[in-house]
């Protein structure tokens, strides 16, 4: 069976009533993944022996026995974790990420690890050692990235929820391309302990699902203080499901001119329609400007690549992971293992970051980028002084064809222009399905001030109830 028309609530109801057992749910899930994934390639590891915990309390725990997908850059004890890289293609971790630990305590069922761009570097899930993932709406299209496997798995009904990670849009852009909801929470909301680092000051684990409420239910479990991560906020985590089912009357909604200018034609119309829906429902729409938007792509690629160049140094062939076989001395171990173990895009970013941090470049690049980042943060603070949320397009276009941009990194990087700012500013942001353009889904991005994921759920849920996009089935999944 597939879960195209299910969510956590509907599955929980069946489990609680006894019309479906958790064992059957797990088995069906694995079988369906195996069947459908031939065309999608959304998974790196499928846990064929997936087994739910025993004595599940379906009445009081909605997540009990629910199969959930985990992006393969999140550390899972005893389950291969590769970050889609050759350098870790046989790596079996000895500990659990905090988010995994919390999901285990919530008794979800783990069914496997999803495909992604290697080390989360990419916007198309084409940069995977395990091959590209295909978009369930059109197998010739990319699912976006880097959490493309998680997005495709949810959109195709393989699971009802998946964890992703978002450093510059890696949850929101694939969510938009696959017609699902996906949220990158506030930086400091979800522990990064056990997330294989790409860019430490930008990385955030988040949730993807068809309905906003499902993500709220999962986020409730994974968010909150953790001694393992000192960058994490200790503030209390609200019950995010309380923001579901509300109206938007009086809500102050900012629309960024530069974001709207980035889209045209049908895409612009679809997004504008969602904004109009909010307006018609009594929201106050304010047009605002973020003039620094034109700098965010270079700014992001300097900061993210610099941090990545350092974070990825530990993959040196010494203690774990791939080691080149014909290494004759220490330098050989490093150079050959890394040259053979990392893919082209990862090497490109390591080089870019190493350059930006090197003596003589630091002041011109990294320091400047850090200053620009502060200015971007200040701009968002100003907007949120008078507004509750910012809405606009998540991406500039719908999903592109597999292979069409992979040879043009600059073009690929520019895809991230609308999502990157939220990471630089550390604010929460989500993508909620807005409609179809040429048969492919596009998303409405909703941003809020730090730690106000609640307003995002409120707006996303309102949009979702209005356009009922969740009732649509991806073209590739119709049979």
């Amino acid at each position: 069976m597939n879960y195209l028309n299910e969510d956590i609530d509907s599955l929980n109801e069946k489990l609680a009533q006894g019309t479906l057992s958790a064992d059957k749910l797990a088995q069906d899930t694995v079988e369906n993944i195996k069947k459908t994934d031939e065309k999608l390639n959304a998974w790196i590891t499928v846990q064929e022996d997936a087994k739910p915990d025993e004595d599940l309390d379906f009445a009081n725990n909605k997540l009990a026995g629910i199969p959930i997908a985990i992006k393969d850059n999140i550390i899972t004890k005893d389950v291969k974790t590769t970050a889609a890289s050759h350098i870790l293609d046989n790596y079996i971790p000895v500990y659990d990420a905090t988010v995994i630990d919390r999901l285990k305590k919530a008794h979800v069922t783990f069914v496997g690890k999803t495909n992604m761009d290697e080390f989360a570097m990419g916007s198309s899930t084409e940069h995977s050692y395990f091959g590209a993932t295909h978009n369930p709406w059109d197998f010739d299209k990319v699912p976006g990235g880097s959490s493309g496997g998680s997005a495709a798995a949810v959109a195709a009904g393989q699971v009802v929820a998946a964890l992703g990670s978002d450093t510059g849009g890696s949850i929101r852009q694939p969510s938009a391309f696959n017609g699902i909801f996906g949220i990158k929470p506030t930086y400091g909301r979800v522990s990064r302990w056990g997330l294989i680092a790409f860019a430490s000051s930008l990385d955030e684990i988040g949730v993807m699902s068809k309905r906003a409420k499902t993500s709220a239910q999962v986020l409730n479990v994974i968010a909150g203080a953790d001694d393992h991560d000192s960058t994490l906020s200790t503030r209390a985590v609200p019950d995010f499901t309380e923001y579901i089912g509300k109206d938007v009357k009086g809500l102050r909604v900012a629309v960024v001119k530069e974001y709207m200018d980035a889209v045209d034609g049908e895409m612009h119309e679809v997004i504008q329609k969602q904004i109009d829906v909010l307006k018609d429902a009594g929201a106050i729409i304010n047009e605002v400007s973020l003039p620094l938007t034109k700098y965010v792509v270079p700014d992001y690629y300097i900061i993210a690549s610099s941090e990545a160049s350092s974070n990825l140094q530990r993959f040196d062939g010494i203690r774990y992971g791939y080691r080149a076989e014909d290494a004759k001395n220490l330098l050989d171990v490093y150079v050959k293992s890394r040259s053979e173990g990392f893919g082209e895009e990862v090497q490109r970013r390591i080089l870019l970051g190493s350059f930006a941090l090197s003596a003589g470049s630091y002041d011109r690049f990294f320091r400047q980028a850090s200053k620009v980042r502060t200015l971007i943060c200040n701009d968002f603070d100003k907007i949120f002084a008078d507004n509750d949320v910012i809405v606009g397009p998540t991406t500039t276009t719908p999903a592109f064809n597999i292979g069409s941009e992979i040879s043009d990194p600059i073009k690929m990087y520019n895809n991230d222009i609308l999502t990157i700012s939220a990471n630089l500013a550390g604010i929460p942001a989500a993508s909620v399905p807005a409609g179809l353009v040429d048969g492919m889904p596009v998303g409405l991005q909703v941003m809020a001030k730090r730690f106000d994921e609640g307003s995002i759920f409120q707006v996303a849920d309102f949009i979702e109830r209005n356009n009922k996009f969740y009732e649509k089935t991806p073209a590739g999944m119709e049979d």
Binding site: Y95, W193, A197, H228, T231, Y334, S354, L357, A359
Partner: protein, 476 residues
């Protein structure tokens, strides 16, 4: 031509925390390789550092003891380099902003006092250890990975090797008496790098700096600096130029040997550590640490000499380690006479430690027991001869001296009503000795004392017997 030397130091102290700076692994010296490690020390994918706040506390102690200015917000940076003993391929250190800066220590050389500035001190993690086997393999031990270090960087204000020696002695003593570090060079808990340049007297700008790393002892530091002064002067006098370089001190020849010439600085690509949130060091916390700061060696020395009347030598022996000074202070606090306590500490206790190759912390003697024993001597309950037996028992088995003395019937006989008849009897039985005494032979009295000691098995109070014998003999 006369030359002036400019000497600087970078001294690393291992901070004495129970666990590592960024992981909960324990810290101890000499554990089996890789037994004191966890996923953080191994730099496993996905791990994050988490600051052990005790590291701040110990660092702040040293900052306070050196009159340094403590910065209100902590900040860490990454120093990137590849090496098998560096599992993340970067060291977490404080590059852009230290823990504290602008301090000083005061030294005294040949009767002249001088302030040596401390440029800054910063916290960082230690690396693991590589060893190269004879079988073609190299081995990595990560036990030391993540041990907290405090690096203290002096201002280049030291002008000769003797001052350098005095600076190190003083700095070591200061750090030692905060209790923040074990300061043992042989175990690596104190590591010294030094640098020296010379310039013609009258020239303002500094000469070219030569570095010497990981010197084994202060004496080696002094010798290597003295050698460098001469060597660099010869180079300059013969028209040559000093190279920016690192040299090593060769113990056998007493010379320094070129290790490598620096060709531009290595590029460590420093940048702010994004995995650690800044911590605020509040004034309240600093005050709290200040009030709990142990007394400095200087303060203790003044008390020992001026208040207790100890000889300078005795005071210095007690102050060789914080442990012995603490032990002494506690013994005095428990009621012991300071002079007696110092004597016992510096002779018997130290002798025992040396003979058994143990440390003060490892033995069963407590300050309370030592004080109790000293009180028994002072109030005449036991003789100093008996005291040696009591001490041997107490230090070996931790026995309460008072109880031991009572149980063993070692209490000194001072009761004249008991001793008087014995004295009479001895005098009666030894007429020859009485004769000798009258003839002015002082030895006679010694013989009679011996007789009484024999009868009382050494317990008679020699002072009392002497008095009684004198009185008795006068009567005859």
């Amino acid at each position: 031509m006369n030359f002036k030397s400019t000497i600087g130091f970078e001294v690393h102290f291992e901070l004495k925390t129970k666990s590592k700076i960024f992981s909960p692994s324990p810290v101890s010296y000499g554990a089996k390789p890789n037994t004191e490690t966890n996923v953080i020390d191994w730099g496993m994918p996905g791990v994050l550092p988490y600051v052990n706040k005790d590291v701040y506390r110990l660092g702040i102690m040293v900052a306070l003891a050196t009159h340094s200015h403590i910065l209100p917000t902590t900040h860490f940076d990454r120093k990137n380099y590849y090496y098998p003993d560096s599992p993340k391929a970067y060291q977490i250190t404080q590059f852009f902003q230290p823990l504290a800066r602008d301090g000083y220590v005061e030294i005294e050389v040949h009767g002249k006092k001088k302030r040596i500035g401390i440029h800054e001190m910063h916290i960082e993690e230690d690396a693991g250890k590589n060893t190269h086997g004879t079988n073609g393999f190299s081995y990595v031990d990560l036990n030391r990975q993540g041990v907290p270090l405090l690096e203290v960087v002096s201002e280049p204000e030291i002008s000769d090797p003797d001052e350098g020696y005095a600076y190190l002695e003083k700095l070591r003593k200061i750090v030692q008496f905060t209790g923040a570090s074990d300061v043992k060079m042989e175990e690596g808990s104190m590591r010294v790098d030094t640098n020296i340049s010379i310039r013609p007297a009258g020239q303002k700008e500094l000469g070219t700096k030569v570095e010497m790393k990981n010197l084994n002892s202060f004496e080696h530091v002094r010798k290597s600096l003295a050698y460098e002064e001469k060597r660099q002067a010869q180079v300059l006098l013969s028209g040559g130029r000093v190279q920016i370089s690192t040299r090593r001190f060769d113990e056998a020849t007493g010379k320094t040997v070129l290790e490598r010439v620096k060709e531009g600085d290595a590029d460590y690509r420093y940048f702010p550590e994004p995995d650690i949130a800044p911590d605020h060091i509040s004034d309240e916390w600093i005050e709290e640490i200040k009030s709990s700061l142990p007394r400095s060696a200087e303060e203790r020395y003044n008390q020992y000499v001026n208040e207790f009347g100890l000889k300078e030598y005795d005071a210095n022996v007690l102050l060789q380690t914080k442990e012995s000074s603490d032990f002494f202070d506690k013994t005095v606090a428990a009621g012991a006479d300071p002079q007696l306590a110092a004597n016992w500490m510096n002779t018997q206790v130290n002798g025992y430690l040396n003979d058994n190759r143990v440390e003060l912390a490892d033995i069963k003697l407590t300050p309370e027991n030592l004080a109790a024993m000293i009180k028994l001597i002072k109030d005449g309950t036991i003789s100093s001869k008996i005291a040696k037996k009591v001490f041997a028992e107490t230090i070996a088995n931790g026995t309460d001296p008072k109880k031991y003395v009572e149980d063993q019937g070692m209490v000194q006989l001072s009761d004249t009503s008991v001793l008087e008849p014995m004295v009479k009897e001895v005098v009666d039985n030894n007429p020859q000795s009485v004769e000798d005494f009258k003839n002015g032979k002082d030895r006679a009295i010694g013989f009679l004392v011996g007789q009484i000691m024999k009868q009382t098995r050494g317990k008679a109070n020699p002072k009392v017997i002497n008095q009684l014998l004198n009185d008795e003999l006068q009567k005859r």
